[in-house]
């Protein structure tokens, strides 16, 4: 099977949250609180164990760039539906000690819920802060890329419910091409700060869910240069081995002296 991808386009999002609703309903994700955040219209706030799509509401200074639509608001509106990035090199997958997290035949990163024992290591090794543990259930949960739907020939629930095609679903190479063209098109139309967020050059090795955004990735809480924590293993283990040798030497010296 070919490798699946999401292209989520901030310039097409209207902030309707249909993706959040569709995801919750199809995947039977439990409610996780009814909180008024006070942060624009965003009462979801972040991705989590029971939030697999999260629509952000950015209110940027007008100077940040041109408005996407007619408005009398004294700031620039941008919306973006965040999701698990299904990283090329996934921190959660590398770190999982049970093998519960696996790479599927469609290239996505999937948590096998019947295997996960809730050790929580994936939570601190995800460079995007996506995966989390459900307090009542104890297991780790995140976006499944609607693996069940994809295997049945259907597109993911969020992409299907999106009324503006802000969430596009397709084959990885096709969508990467489409994203590049979209950024170019936006720039020629005067959106100079349009860019693709898909860190190919870092150890994360590109995403299977990438984003067309306006402005800096940081404004969307997207890390500018995410690294998969396995890149830290070499230096940490080297230090551990040297220090262990020193500790053993101290013990032997203490008895030899």
């Amino acid at each position: 099977m070919s490798v699946s991808a999401f292209l989520t386009d901030a310039t097409l999002c209207i902030g309707c949250k249909a993706c959040e609703v569709a995801c919750k309903e199809w995947n039977e994700v439990p409610a996780d609180g009814y909180v008024w955040s006070g942060l624009s219209y965003d009462n979801t706030q972040s991705l989590g164990a029971s939030t697999w799509r999260h629509v952000m509401f950015l209110e940027q200074p007008q100077a940040a760039g041109p408005q996407l639509a007619e408005t009398t608001d004294p700031f620039r509106w941008v919306f973006l539906s965040d999701v698990c990035k299904h990283c090329g090199n996934a921190g959660c997958l590398e770190a999982c000690p049970t093998g519960a997290i696996m790479r599927t035949d469609i290239g996505s990163v999937l948590v096998q819920n019947d295997v996960c024992n809730g050790c929580g290591y994936c939570i601190v090794t995800c460079p995007f802060g996506v995966i989390d543990r459900r307090p009542d259930d104890g297991g780790a949960f995140k976006c499944t890329f609607c693996y069940d739907r994809q295997k049945a020939g259907l597109i993911p629930a969020c992409a299907k419910a999106c009324p503006t095609e802000s969430i596009q679903f397709g084959e990885l190479g096709d969508l990467q091409e489409r994203a590049k063209n979209r950024v170019q098109e936006l720039q020629t139309r005067g959106y100079h700060d349009a860019r693709l967020y898909d860190p190919q050059e870092t150890s994360v090795g590109g995403l299977h869910a990438f984003f067309v955004i306006l402005g800096q990735p940081e404004n969307y809480n997207l890390p500018p240069a995410p690294e998969v924590p396995t890149t830290y293993l070499k230096s940490a283990w080297t230090s551990a081995i040297i220090c262990a040798a020193i500790a053993l030497a101290i013990v032997f010296l203490a008895f030899a002296l």
């Binding site: 952000m56 519960a100 929580g120 809480n221 890390p223 830290y232 500790a247 032997f252």
Partner: protein, 328 residues
Amino acid sequence: MKAAKATEARLDEIRKSAAESADLSTRGNSYPPQIRGKESYYGLPVLKAPVWTWEVPIYFFIGGIAGLSSCIALAAHLLGNDAELVRSALWVALIGGAICPIFLIADLGRPARFLAMLRVAKIQSPMSVGAWVLVAFSGCALVAVVAEELIVRGYSDVLIVGANWAGDLTAALTGLVLAAYTGVLIGATANPVWSHNRRALPAHFLAAALGGAGAVLELLGFFIAPTQLIGLAAAIIETLLGVHFELSRLPVNAPLHRGKSAIGFRIAGVMAGPVALILRLASDSPPARRAAAICFLAGSLLSRYAWIWAGRASAKDPEVLFQIQRKS
């Protein structure tokens, strides 16, 4: 629910927290103060905080002591002539190794599925390496202890003596990994303060394990020269590491310098470092050494908690994450 009426102190607290969100550097300029320019999405965290609860630092602490205790047993076995020390150190290793899984399992979101940990072996996952090393260590320590107890009771044929040596040697080697891997475990993560200190963490955890194992044996009555030397070495390393962490004033290390994690971290560092060192240098009488041992143990346990608290604080700070990523 009726809120308590605000006190003057509460009003000051509100003012202070509001001021933290403001950029007051404009004071004295012609333009008015502004809200602090945040790049992040409403200052919300990018990363998830560790979900590990109180059991995990205790596991780090006991695992370290058990691991290095087996090294002391091996050294005493090879170089010393104190059979009682070898026996006690092996028992400390075995009991520690047996207690560890209790805390490790209690922390799991689904404790009933702890055996899933042994479903696969993944060298690239420190959590997987740790689970296997703990199993191996406990097995080796068990062999060593059983053989030791048989020898003490007069059953000493070649097989039993061989098992004793093999158990002792393998327990010491796996014990070192058990004590060190926990530093790698939290160092090789996306958490800024942990991953930034990934080289120092194994050193810190091994020093705590080394001094902790010596301290436990002292508290069991082994006021001998080697345990004093081990205690001195560990306290010196703790002191040096304390100075290192105190002088690393990078923004990423803020959780070691500010807030609850910093209070715990500093108290822990002083107790396991200078206080234990001064007590040992002042006198090598048993009461002084007992006090030094207790100080070191308390400090090294608290420092494991402080590292977890520091990780929680670090995960909440999106600006620091952006800053270190742009620099690299």
